[in-house]
Point group: C2
Chain length 167, copies 2
DNA sequence: CGAATTTCATAAGGCACCCTTACTATCTTT
DNA sequence: AAAGATAGTAAGGGTGCCTTATGAAATTCG
């Protein structure tokens, strides 16, 4: 059997990117989790991020929020259960469509949202320490592009964006 | 609703980076999982990545491989159980330290490793489509920096930094 | 109009990732 | 030789996210 490991050097810088992204996410999530716990906020990272997204989309329906977050509606539903239990959001009947519910922030949520944003801010400031403004921008733009590219490879994404189903 | 969120703009580009990284990781993992399944490789992404790392560190002990991967020894242990069951790696007694085991690739693993590298390659080529060589490099360097920064915030990181001088 | 289909939220269940704690066997130090 | 550190691992848990199925309401259409 002959192995074609000659190409390994060329591929190496590729598969490293995969590890880098996955490692970043793990580290980031862990750091966020630690900070949230330290700050005494009784939320998981997923719930906290959901709340942040809801803050930007106050009054939206669950489908829209889930789409914005890039998760399945069911995944968001679980977060909302928790957030509602904690009194941070409310599910209100949508008058236009009685199947749907509008997710509204409660008055008491403001403080929590501020705290979460603050923790996020600290973490990301630490994480990007030593990164030039310019490269910070490129990093974000590159990730936006990567995400769009990956999203396009999702089979069901054909329904949303791609007109091509030559699969 | 009538709240002034003037400060939000300043923070926004920060917390977006967090979402971007986490989203990338989720999309990447999902894409990898799909491709691995399609290719008929009976591995999870974590197991596959472990195997790739082992390929670069053939004959190392589990602690070193775990450190390289950035996971706890126990996490790696579970991957190894699976990889060993599949006949892709072997645990060999380390002659110098009978507590330790050296992880060796089996002969049959070459094919699997090639397949995994290939799938990774395809995914990452897709993911970085439209990204200039220059920005690709900056992306990777920025992530390396971010990972190092985040790693430094881990409480137990003080313990981790020392034991690695045999490189 | 009424039946079929679609859509929104959700209940139920599952897989993967990764961790902490605790234990055994083996080094290392004193 | 006794005490403590270290390599691997068994056990178990929390989180993230998914798929499938269900009930209710909306929409399409014969």
């Amino acid at each position: 059997m002959k192995f074609e490991d000659e190409a390994k050097g060329a591929e190496k810088h590729m598969d490293i990117l995969g590890s880098l992204i996955i490692d970043s996410a793990r580290l980031l999530r862990a750091a966020f989790e630690r900070r949230i716990a330290q700050a005494g906020l009784e939320l998981t990272p997923g719930e906290a991020l959901a709340l942040i997204n809801i803050a930007d989309l106050d009054g939206s329906r669950q489908l829209d929020i889930a789409a914005r977050m890039g998760v399945e509606p069911m995944t968001l539903c679980a977060y909302l259960d928790k957030l509602e239990t904690l009194g941070l959001v409310e599910r209100q009947q949508c008058s236009a469509d009685r199947r749907a519910k509008r997710i509204k922030l409660t008055e008491t949520s403001g403080e929590m949202i501020g705290s979460i944003r603050n923790e996020l801010n600290v973490i990301l400031t630490q994480a990007t320490e030593g990164l030039s403004e310019e490269n910070n921008r490129i990093l974000r733009e590159a990730l936006v592009l990567v995400n769009a590219n990956l999203q396009a490879t999702v089979p069901s994404a054909a329904l949303q964006t791609a007109p091509d189903e030559s699969r």
